[in-house]
């Protein structure tokens, strides 16, 4: 039997606002527990929410980028359920009138570009965090995250396999980071998704029973969780069973999904309009303001890099595909004239380093200014390309500026003919056999002499000059 998979994703994007959705408490990640919390966040008796418009602007920016209809009047609803890290006993969210309706997002698949339709995207507040394993016999609550603004983006069930799901999430990541809607940091939970997975016989028009895998927070896990779930559902159906509609959790240690205990999710959320908030209205002039300050998206960046800086199409594409890389390039390119060399370094040496460390460039010790200086020192022949590589390693580990490193390690390139000639003379005098060999036609020995000169100068001699002088002297 051939089975066909149908996947819909609910993506939770943590909006990068300075303060929370309904309070003025900070959203900074990684603060000690319960410090980013004010009266509203812990749901004290008598407190009331007031909206953070910045979150609306970000949600609207997302909607505009994917061609959605924007509901300029937003209504909030309460989703009622009890959980220890949900301070009010309800979550403020949007049910009937989401801020963003419809839209499309293009993803890359093995067979080319595929368009996935967006059903809706709505604003809601995040819950806090329960900590179950740090205090003997007790669970602890950290409300730092409570009230952080989330945009929940719901896709149509148009994703056909795990790889497409990953591709969708990558496209989503690119979009929300370029739009400055979110920092997209998946390990900190800024971008995570619930996957609704079902299978059906190939050719069936009716959807199979779906399961929902909750809270997946890495590209790798999305692929693994969905693939596990597809396999599981196929096994259930092929052995004559029925898939039960349920919520499941992906366990990355065991690489499996399993049902959540029924207590971990409620069935009836008793949604009703939030009476503490009046409808939030976004004016036409606010909409225009958002349009007028729309961030540059990858496509536009790529075209600009080709046109303004003469980058090759492939290079421009790579740099423009990551927000942190593009930001870095945009900053560094202001401080150097050799755009091509900068681009080569970003795609070559720098990318290799980042991949090895599996970090983003903004998480490294590299600054745009320092990299630009490094490019400039190669460009003005203060250092050779080879020395540049060792300086780069130093920059990566210490964060020091290239000029500091050149200065403190004495790496400045020797370019004057006299100094190099002196070393060349020494090398020739010390290696009579090789001189004879070269002169009898073994041209390849030139490399040996270059190596010796470089060794004597700790690599600081300008290679072109060394070559030139060696050739002159040896052919005499």
């Amino acid at each position: 039997m051939t089975w066909e998979t149908v996947i819909g994703l609910e993506t939770h994007v943590q909006l990068s606002t300075k303060t929370k959705l309904f309070s003025r408490a900070s959203t900074t990640f990684g603060k000690s527990p319960n410090t980013n919390v004010n009266l509203i966040d812990c749901g004290l008796p008598g407190v009331l929410p007031s909206v953070n418009k910045e979150a609306f602007y970000k949600a609207i920016r997302f909607g505009m980028a994917v061609g959605s209809k924007i509901n300029q009047t937003s209504i909030f609803d309460r989703k009622n359920y009890f959980y220890a890290d949900l301070p009010k006993g309800y979550q403020i969210t949007q049910m009937d009138l989401p801020i963003v309706l419809g839209g499309k997002i293009d993803i890359e698949t093995d067979s080319g570009i595929k368009t996935i339709n967006i059903t809706r995207a709505h604003l809601e507040e995040d819950a806090g965090k329960s900590i179950h394993d740090e205090f003997d016999g007790f669970s602890a609550i950290d409300l730092n995250r409570a009230g952080t603004p989330l945009l929940e983006i719901v896709s149509e069930p148009e994703i056909s396999n795990a790889k497409e799901a990953v591709s969708y999430m990558k496209a989503m990541h690119q979009l929300v980071t370029f739009l400055d809607v979110s920092d997209g940091n998946m390990s900190q939970g800024s971008l995570r998704c619930d996957a609704n997975v079902s299978i059906r016989k190939k050719g069936d028009s009716k959807l199979g029973t779906r399961t929902e895998i909750k809270n997946i927070n890495s590209f790798k896990f999305i692929e693994k969780a969905i693939n596990f779930e597809i396999k599981r559902q196929v096994q259930v159906l092929e052995s004559g069973g029925n898939v039960i509609q349920e919520t499941r959790l992906y366990d990355s240690y065991k690489d499996e999904t399993r049902p959540m205990r029924s207590k971990e999710f409620a069935n009836d959320y008793r949604y009703f309009p939030e009476p503490d908030l009046l409808p939030v209205v976004i004016s036409d002039s606010e909409m225009q303001e958002i349009k007028d300050h729309f961030p540059e998206l990858p496509k536009e960046k790529k075209a600009r890099y080709q046109k303004e800086y003469g980058l090759a199409i492939y290079d421009a594409q790579i740099i423009a595909s990551s927000k942190s890389m593009a930001d870095f390039f945009d900053a560094a390119v202001q401080k150097t004239k050799n755009y091509i060399l900068l681009s080569n370094w970003l795609i070559g040496e720098i990318s290799a380093f980042l991949n090895k460390e599996t970090i983003e460039i903004n998480e490294s010790k590299l600054s745009a200014e320092n990299v630009a200086v490094l490019i400039n020192r190669i460009d003005d022949q203060t250092i050779s390309g080879k020395i540049a590589k060792s300086i780069f390693e130093e920059m990566c580990s210490s964060g020091e500026s290239p000029d500091q490193i050149i200065e403190s390690k004495g790496l400045k390139q020797i370019t004057d003919d006299d100094s190099i000639e002196k070393v060349v003379d020494e090398v020739i005098a010390n290696n009579p056999d090789q001189v004879e060999g070269y002169q009898s036609g073994k041209d390849k020995l030139l490399g040996f002499f270059v190596g010796q000169v470089m060794k004597e100068t700790q690599g600081k001699a300008n290679p072109q000059t060394v070559n030139k002088i060696l050739k002159e002297k040896l052919t005499k």
Partner: protein, 485 residues
């Protein structure tokens, strides 16, 4: 010199004439409250802090506020920083808020002194003050009789002359009905006039804070200070505040007052009807005209209210879960057990009843039939008022169908009997309109109230009509004998 039964203006004169200092006044008030402890008006006294504040106020000459140095009491659902705030519930019996409600803060910034927190129906759910965890409040007019509710402690404390005025809140009549039963004046402002920040919510779309006092004039003094835009409450109206004191004492000749056909006043007790007719005559003698009006959907007010208010309360009260503040049950097995035991032990029966009703009204499959339908009917009731106010200035009704009643005599077997206490008051909450209750005589020795309902933001008109009535009658000057206490 006795300070009992004094109005704000009388106390103001005494302070300004230096015949009493604020410190002496506050100490006298606390003494009076102590001697009338049996009434059970107060849940918590603010003795030391109150006296300290009075000394401070005595030492400043800057403010010329009418409330400077005047003792007031706050209903115990307004959060007061450092001062226990219980909502008359076991679940908040030890709750000390870290912040102060906007309405109280404004009154205190005007120089008034909070001398204590008043008893109330638990979480403001009730019309007799009998659901309080801290016990019944006696009506100063008759021991063993209810003061009305839910702002029963505030009403009784003012009626007994302990304080000149107190704050209350009104979700379905909780200021006006106890004011009526205790023979004092109380106004529920337009929804959004007073900030709800710091006011522990019962039903968010209906709750509104207001004053209870010995006269319409004193109500105006308090409301002037309490109202105003507050960015912390998005439902708070951003409108200019008129000085309500300046707008009272205007002639009411030509004022058009509507009598609601659908209220079938003929069904009420004869004595209540007589009081109502007498008050009509007073207004007529002052030049007001009466017209019969129709509010076709008004008969649906009580069921509409009892779908919406419990629905909102079921959600609003979810935060009382024993996790972060308030009562937490001991010896619980797991989180669910913690919720069940803390809430079962912490809430009283009426609160539980309303949480259950509300949870039911919001449940999948019932939402459309109850909550949504109720919201649609609410819209119709609002429209009725909108149409009526095109041809009239005010609406006049009795505040309550009867007088105060004996403890335990109503609603014990059948809660709905008690829900009907709110028959005349509920519709102005549903429509968001301002309404005032003023005393207009007694029936069987117990006070009855007259209610005036105004159009949106017409508190000035309401207070003026009430003030003029009080200038031309003496009902508001009557005092209980207090012999029993």
């Amino acid at each position: 010199m006795s300070i009992q039964y004094k109005t704000i203006s009388q106390l103001r004169e005494m302070i300004d004439a230096k015949s009493i200092s604020s410190q002496e006044l506050v100490k006298e008030t606390l003494k009076l409250a102590e001697s009338l402890k049996e009434l059970n008006c107060f849940v918590t006294m603010n003795k030391d802090e109150g006296i300290k504040k009075a000394i401070e106020v005595d030492g400043t000459n800057t403010s010329n506020s009418l409330l400077k140095g005047i003792p007031l009491a706050q209903k115990d659902l307004f959060c007061t920083e450092g001062l226990r705030t219980t909502c008359s519930s076991k679940i908040l019996a030890d709750f000390v808020p870290p912040y102060t409600a906007t309405a109280v803060e404004k009154l205190e910034n005007a120089g008034s002194i909070t001398i204590g927190k008043t008893n109330m129906d638990e979480f403001a759910m009730g019309s007799s003050n009998e659901t309080s965890f801290f016990g019944n409040v006696h009506n100063p007019w008759k021991k063993g009789y209810v003061p009305g509710g839910s702002s029963g402690g505030s009403a009784a404390a003012v009626a007994a002359g302990i304080i000149p005025a107190a704050t209350g809140t009104d979700t379905g009549g909780s200021i006006r009905q106890p004011a009526a039963h205790c023979g004092i004046t109380g106004i529920k402002p337009t929804y959004g006039r007073v900030s709800r920040w710091g006011m522990i919510a019962f039903a968010s779309s209906l709750d509104q804070a207001g004053p209870l006092a010995r006269s319409a004039e004193d109500c105006a003094i308090l409301l002037n200070e309490m109202s105003g835009y507050d960015p912390k409450d998005t439902t708070c109206l951003n409108v200019e505040n008129t000085n309500l004191l300046q707008s009272i004492n205007q002639p009411i000749k030509g004022l058009k007052i509507g009598i609601v056909k659908e209220f079938n006043l003929g069904d009420l007790k004869a004595e209540v009807q007589i009081r109502f007719e007498e008050s009509k005559k007073i207004y007529e003698s002052l030049g007001a005209e009466f017209v019969e009006i129709s509010l076709p959907s008004i008969s649906a007010s009580v069921p509409t209210y009892y779908s919406i208010a419990p629905a909102e309360c079921s959600s609003n009260l979810s935060r009382f879960d024993g996790v972060r503040f308030g009562y937490r049950a001991k010896d619980t097995d797991d989180l669910n057990d913690l919720y069940i035991k803390s809430r079962s032990e912490g809430f009283g029966d009426e609160v539980k009843r309303r949480i259950l009703i509300g949870t039911y009204a919001l449940s999948a499959g019932y939402y459309d039939a109850y909550y949504k339908k109720a919201q649609q009917v609410r819209r119709l009731i609002k429209n009725d008022f909108e149409v009526a106010f095109r041809s009239i200035d005010l609406i006049m009704t009795p505040t309550s169908p009867g007088t105060a009643f004996a403890f335990g005599s109503k609603g014990v077997q059948n809660p709905v009997e008690l829900y009907l206490e709110d028959l005349f008051t509920i519709s102005s909450n549903l429509a968001g309109l301002p309404a005032i209750s003023i005393p207009h005589g007694k029936v069987n020795g117990l006070p009855v109230g007259l209610q005036l309902i105004g159009n949106f933001l017409k508190e000035d008109l309401l207070l003026n009509a009430a003030h003029i009535f009080q200038q031309n009658s003496e009902f508001h000057l009557e005092r209980p004998s207090m012999e029993e206490f």
